[in-house]
Symmetry: C2
Amino acid sequence: MNSPISTKERILAAAESLFAQRGFDGASLRQLTASAGVNLAAVNYHFGSKEKLVEQVFKRRLDALNQHRLAELAKVAGRADTTLEDVLAAYIRPALELSHEGNGSLFMRVLARAFAEHDDTLRQFLSDNYGHVMRQFTLEFARLLPHLAKAELYWRIDLVTGALTHAMSGFGMIQRKDNVTEQQHREQTAAHLIRFAAAGLSHP
Amino acid sequence: MNSPISTKERILAAAESLFAQRGFDGASLRQLTASAGVNLAAVNYHFGSKEKLVEQVFKRRLDALNQHRLAELAKVAGRADTTLEDVLAAYIRPALELSHEGNGSLFMRVLARAFAEHDDTLRQFLSDNYGHVMRQFTLEFARLLPHLAKAELYWRIDLVTGALTHAMSGFGMIQRKDNVTEQQHREQTAAHLIRFAAAGLSHP
DNA sequence: CGTATGCTCAAACGATCGTTTGATTCTGAC
DNA sequence: GTCAGAATCAAACGATCGTTTGAGCATACG
């Protein structure tokens, strides 16, 4: 390493931003390295290939996000006084906070893109890093919703995931107004998501 | 025209399939024309450019879908005995039926991809063809949920849209089991979606 | 028949892609 | 100071992209 910010990290940051804006195919290595201020060959030197770079972009954020989520879940899992909203908050809030710190807000778009692209190798990679966390949360949801058949619960969690992905990636028409801070908007989003998801999950 | 299936329609069908599989950037005109059994130059001759072809792929399905949705909405809108589930069915069922006829199932994936790609010109195009329908449905939702503030209603409709997009595009983990027909699976999906969305929309 | 028009075709265009090469510079241990 | 290894660089590689061209074929109308 030679600089306050290493070449590798500059590439990762620029990749996250460009992938979010133009997609994985749409963002070329020439745009990427130019925006990162590094040489074109640096990507293949440090990551091996463009595809490996994509995986690293995911891994960097997903590891932190999942760790954060599991830590929040551990605070409430198994307790007698835990509510559905508590578990949903453990799932939702880390994602919204990630999308607030640094320029990690772009990562949620990248994640949503990855869902849209049905690329099998990428989905496999996501399932490996994501499935573990989903299973933990599903177990806790099942504990709090004992009246639901397993198949029914899976259906509802799937639909909740869709709503979360949609909202977190900034797809929707809901945009932050000028008279609310980003912090306030994030709290509003979390509150709406949690109440909406709780109603959808627990309805009779 | 010269054949039972015109060159134009063969291109549109192949484009819908390939765009769903590989994305707009990922699908090349050479793959597309080869899969359609037409000459490479036929796309630019009949549509002008690849971008125009993308728009036509959308327009063909969206026109039919929106017309169908509005027809179903007209049957229940404004009536005293209309339920929230009725309106949701008018919104959801046409989409699920579209995703069942022919190989239109791929179109929902294409649509979800378009949501993920934040391409502004494409989003503008979608808003022009989609916004009109959304406004009609929003009016009816507002009538049936008079206790909700307008901002609150917008939030919830946005989240419902996310769940719908997710489920209709086949993102989720829920897959059709071998012992249920596709028709049954479609009915199950619609039923789950409608109940989930109704709970999320109308919770206190 | 002649010919105008709509369509299809193989071939080529310039541009851009991801990747590789080989030389050059930087860095730290001896 | 020397030298091995890591890192960066300009340049080029072959491949593939969307698009254009101009000749060839078909059908319909006078």
